[in-house]
Symmetry: C2
Amino acid sequence: MSSKPNAIVAQSGGPTAVINSSACGVIQQAMKSGKIGRVIGAINGILGVLNEELFDLSAEKPETIEALKQTPAAAIGSCRYKLKSLEESKADFERVLDVFKAHEIRYFFYAGGNDSMDTADKVNKLAADVGYELVCMGIPKTVDNDLAFTDHCPGYPSVAKYVATCAMEAGRDTDALYTTDTCTILEVMGRNAGWIAAATGLAHRSGEDAPHLVYMPEAAFSFDKFVNDVKEVLKEFGKVFIVAGEGLKDDKGQYVTADSGAFSKDSFGHVQLGGVADMLKAVIEKEVKIKARCNKLGTNQRSAMHFASLTDVNEAYMCGQMAVKHAMEGVNGKMVTLVREDRPKYKCTTGLAELRDVANGEKKVPKEFINDKGNHITDAMRDYIRPLVQGEAPVKIGEDGLPVFMRFERKPLEKKLPKYI
Amino acid sequence: MSSKPNAIVAQSGGPTAVINSSACGVIQQAMKSGKIGRVIGAINGILGVLNEELFDLSAEKPETIEALKQTPAAAIGSCRYKLKSLEESKADFERVLDVFKAHEIRYFFYAGGNDSMDTADKVNKLAADVGYELVCMGIPKTVDNDLAFTDHCPGYPSVAKYVATCAMEAGRDTDALYTTDTCTILEVMGRNAGWIAAATGLAHRSGEDAPHLVYMPEAAFSFDKFVNDVKEVLKEFGKVFIVAGEGLKDDKGQYVTADSGAFSKDSFGHVQLGGVADMLKAVIEKEVKIKARCNKLGTNQRSAMHFASLTDVNEAYMCGQMAVKHAMEGVNGKMVTLVREDRPKYKCTTGLAELRDVANGEKKVPKEFINDKGNHITDAMRDYIRPLVQGEAPVKIGEDGLPVFMRFERKPLEKKLPKYI
């Protein structure tokens, strides 16, 4: 084993089209830094650390690592295991450090959302408390785009480009068949933030272009207003295409689907939503008496590598790369952020934010991005999203006509510690 | 007005990514034939004929017509209006001929499924009966791929390429998060035929590649076997990715969702299905005690121009073109078919089938394309589908980073007849 310290890379939470691109940036930059021994992957995020299920990323073929840029989801493996406070999850945090020590890991690169930044921050604190030299760096990742201190989050531009295209395409389907299938409802992800729903608004270039109505959790949802909105669009265009974020809330902040029992909690304690589209369909068919169809892209929206934003792929890579560069310069306890330089021409550089600040922050769609009626986006939102969805990520196609994604060999590292739990 | 006879083009039924490519083939070939005056579009299929809502396709800009190849759904407009027998729908059929006569239409090009071929056949018969000189030609179109007498149907290869890619991508998402989100169910279209579900099988190249289980309406569905299948896959891979055709049936031929009340009839009298994925999810969560997620692509699968098969686009165009060429040669009452030439190298040419034969035929997934357990496809199916999904249709991207689709100006033709109904 090298005498140089090792680095560990982990991925957390819901996958995206580009979290692997960030991993690629970390791995390639770490390997060429000359300061890191092994680059280690933690299989399934923090679970892999706890269970000492690690593999040698630096032993993977260079072309496999390069192909991360063209592979969706989380090739190192992700999880939804949440560490709580240092007191409540003391054993877990100590185990993390034990595993780091056992494998001479001095760099921890963690790609995820605010829960993951929280974990990285606490691991960092504990390391400082016990005098274990460790550098913890966060890499932003969430299709929800709700992390604070960063202009946008890697993963979001790709889902934005894809759902906007889906709205455009299914909108043409509704155009074609409106004499019977008069209404289409596209349900998109976004538990508390409406960024994904908002992105579809870009597809509405003018006139009858779908979507006609876009509902985001940030704008209080009212069934009466909704029925009225639908009737108005019908009157103008004879058809209606609706986009609904999964987490629509009423003016009291309650999920509008809560009554239907169509929700449950995931292991992070988040309410798992579903059924917004089905509910709106039922309302429309009853109150407006037209046929409605539902499209629910589900996990396909966040894994749509085949039409990912090239801007996103490149920026995600840059975030991974910069996390390593900063770590080598002695930066610690920060998340890399994306910084939008002054207009007119879009240029994106990186900055840094405290892990703990990101952990406690949240960025919702601001008021000025939502129209007054609360049923569509404004030009300010269009200006925000347009540069992000530029370019199409290259897709390697196999002889069978389908995309080719990489898989790691995952050569396991020998376990050095007793089994945990 | 030209002294040459006019031609009418109509699109019918559920849209596809390439029905516009067929329309492009018809329009361009008709315009250069030198034998046709105006090429007329019937807005919303046969409804446009009945209501005399017609527009001058030959007055559209050439670049608009060319851009049909890159535009999904049905740009001329489609409908689900069904004409019944010549006796039952006598007034409708007579009206069709009246409109044709009023606009000097001697060529009727109709793109659709078997219901549309039935309509075209009956219009043709009536014209012959009353001595009105008319040529009726059918162009195959259906994502369901269930038309007889043709190797495959334009529209199917594109949905096949897209859903297989979606299975591959969402499969990677399940790979990444299987420790909590252990099961994903992708629901795809296919009322009576499992061709679309079958296509996703191509994504399973080997080992743990999704999908692990593919259910088609042609294989009798049993809940007990299903639960067993799921448990077996879980035992091997610790996760399970399932594809279900919307029209799964039990061994008595009854839709498995029929009890749940989750179906209704469309205006063609077809049972409109939905809820197969939700039902399977409920079964899995109850019987296998793992979390399952549902992805329902809905109309997005049939309109996914952004990742359409180039082979499909080209073949759809060829069908439109050949319909006109044959019509000019005096052929009448036929549908253009796609003919797969002898292997090894895939080559596709066209043939002809009687409209009435196509109207009465149906092509389901044959036994040899489904594995013995009824839960996946065979290599014979892979060999069938692989050549169809080759190539990616070009996509024109606008400055906003999203696809650009055409719209017709739809310059209306002056109405010459009294209002109908």
